[in-house]
Symmetry: C2
Subunit: 209 residues, 2 copies
Amino acid sequence: MDNKKSEEKKPDTEALIFEAAKKVFGMKGMAGARMQEIADEAGINKALLHYYFRTKEKLFEAVFTAIFQSFFPKAMSIMVNPEISFRDKIEKFTTVYISLIQENPYIPGFMLHQLSTGGTEKIVNLFRESGIKPDFFFQQVEKEIQKKTISSVNPMHLIVNMISMCIFPFIGKPFLSTFLFQDAEAYDQFLEERKKEVPRFIINSIQKT
Amino acid sequence: MDNKKSEEKKPDTEALIFEAAKKVFGMKGMAGARMQEIADEAGINKALLHYYFRTKEKLFEAVFTAIFQSFFPKAMSIMVNPEISFRDKIEKFTTVYISLIQENPYIPGFMLHQLSTGGTEKIVNLFRESGIKPDFFFQQVEKEIQKKTISSVNPMHLIVNMISMCIFPFIGKPFLSTFLFQDAEAYDQFLEERKKEVPRFIINSIQKT
DNA sequence: GTCTATACGGTGATAGAC
DNA sequence: GTCTATCACCGTATAGAC
């Protein structure tokens, strides 16, 4: 993998470390991860980790920030885009959200550990920096209610329901894939189905009949 | 707190440790928790932890098992109870589920860490031991579909949706309470509302009109 | 049963050769 | 930039007095 034109994309140790850290931190969490394991995963030496990222904490923060920014703004920008109709919004959001996590399986692990360990400040800051204001979505919901196109729902609950149904299947993967599915393939298919099922479920619930 | 009749309920060091461990493990996870912190929380000495539970891992397992058994069977038994109508089942399940976690705030933290750390075997075993068969619920869904009382839904997605909407608000508490709510009180009220909102949301979605 | 003191291993981090 | 060797610390676990 080293034989490309060395000009254009050297195997870039930093990126190797980054990927390895994603994986290990995502699986074990900040506290459970071991620098040694990350080094092994990256196929390099432990000391090199400290050469690129001075400390474990800095490495974690770097990876966490990157992960967060790689998905959160993308998903949220859909919700606050004035050009997308309300109904499309729900469909797009769920689909994109699920797809994004499928592509970056470490996201839920990161979020979880970060949340349940109480390290909320970083998330809060990243969120603030992203400049996203959920208010617009709430206003759009209210507008739809006034237009009588949907039944009267509390926007808070609606958005929490939406996020819940998108993200939980990933969190609960080991659990679900043990009890509800035969193999990994069945689980993957289940996720694919959800891209249609979840928006349908939501729209069925709130649409005026 | 020691001045009760020493016969009836001595302050029971073991129970103290158990409670402290619940709290610390729930917040920090197995890897992040420190025996010292548990000892402090229990107001006793570090060595005593090892006297009662030989190792950190044994302590964790004991607490995890107790937590699991204190809520899972109770919630699930509702789902497979043939005497409860389908509609009541959804209402009862969501209400009981949310209430149970409200009373034992450490449950989500435990589950999360256990899930995301990959220690699924314990959960699988505990689940097996509980003797619960989710099949009955699935059958009941199919029956309702045949009776045309609900629209054609995939039972898998239905139950995953239900669990998602119940449990995620707890997982995401730090996040939600930062962005959507002013204070802890508002968050608590939100949870109370959900006991009505979630079943309503589900039933609205699947009922035949 | 409960404490203090200590042994022991693991882990993050650094020094220094190449 | 990358490695080997090593340090210093922290955290689990045990020994032993009371």
